[in-house]
Amino acid sequence: MSANRARVVVTGYGATTPLGGDVTSTWSALLAGQSGVRPLTEDWVDSVPVKFAGVAAVDPSEVLPRPEARRLDRSEQLALVAAREAWQHAGAPQVASERLGVVVSSGIGGITTTLSAYDTFKEKGWSRLSPFTVPMLMPNGPAAWIGLDLGAMAGVHATVSACASGAEAIGYAMDMIRSGRADVVVAGGTEAAIHPLNIAAFAAARAMSTRNDDPQGASRPWDRDRDGFVLGEGAGIVVLESEEHARARGAKIYAYASGVGYSADSHHITQPEPEGRGIIMAMTQALTDAGVTGQDIKHINAHGTSTPAGDVIEVQSVAKAIGTHPLVTSTKSMTGHLLGGAGGIESVFTIKALEDRIVPATINLANPDDGIEVDLVHGESRKLPQGDIAAVNNSFGFGGHNVTVVFTTH
């Protein structure tokens, strides 16, 4: 770790997920081992092979004022709800606009708007499109609306790397602070992709679970009977701040965002590389960046999506890059997979685990698959040790993107 580089601290967090409309309710549900997955009741379910998803527990359009909600895509609504929670949680920092940034990403942006607007266009013509169609469908929309809401001028960005997008956003935000571009950056990920076309397309890639007779048992990372991921929606946002700025205003520090590592598999557009070389590289670089050793890492919030190929490769890579000792869990067993939102909510969960010194158990993990040596948390939540410890959030995306973020208590 560079001695003269600004250290980055987490001073606030917010989330709206399939388990709850805020962090407190979501975290309680995770520790209670609840599933946020439910059967879909829309009339289009007959046309797709997957009939369940992790729908946001609290409809964001009911939380936001109606005039605001109607000009936002659902991915933007979710992001704004989570960002406002995070900002209030951080104590609404006093910071110059020129020193405030936003990095909030999604994997596929306002795709529901794109598709519904195209229907409107075909049926009623161009003049019936909302004048807000473009800002609703653009993938930088969530970041832009949050930036407007907070008056951020230091830079508003939206990194895109499929299911690694949210984690990449947090890494980019850390780099903004460490390079001196900003004192405070609001960062995370959002997604609202529960639409028949997305489900059909992921199903066509044979990536989704089709366990229609047991939706809440469908997301089962590392279990022998796993058959694909479960689509979820929501947003997770953190407030990152230079340690100096946070201490000067007397802010409560929940964790340090100490390191980030990036890599690309350069192997296949959707399939994981069997040896995990890219994943190992991302984790190794993140540890080096954080100035910690594998022994310091006590917990891993894994990518663990419940797909047959990816789950085991990830934990075998963990064993090689970090060791078999950390408590490993996949909260996707309860939230489903939020795609670009995953790195956002799972970073929040990693921070909560360090703050409360507890790791929520992976649910539906009845029979761990062969070839797994790491300590998977299942059955019940497990305690983390006191003292200075570190934890990892892994996120990987179609395209071969790998991002590892290291959070520490010190």
């Binding site: 109606r66 005039p67 605001e68 109607r70 807000f132």
Partner: protein, 79 residues
């Protein structure tokens, strides 16, 4: 069927409230959309589209920019 000015005003008030959150009771004939109600140009497009659907009259873009007050819209719809 002729619609009274009062009915149009009430309908317009509902549309403005739906789109901007401004109370319908503040939508009175003498008000300017931009200066008094603080409505931006994109919101005016939304209001115009909704008014077209509600009252069955087309409001071309080159006419829209001339509709500066609530009264202007009432007159256009009744014309």
């Amino acid at each position: 069927m002729a619609v009274s000015e009062q009915e149009i005003l009430e309908g317009l008030g509902k549309i403005v409230n739906e789109i901007t959150g401004i109370p319908a009771t503040e939508v009175t004939p003498e008000k300017s959309f931009v200066d008094d109600l603080d409505i931006d140009s994109l919101s005016m497009v939304e209001i115009a589209v909704a008014a077209q659907d509600e009252f069955g009259v087309e409001i071309p873009d080159d006419q829209l920019k001339n509709l500066k007050t609530v009264k202007d819209v009432l007159n256009f719809i009744q014309a």
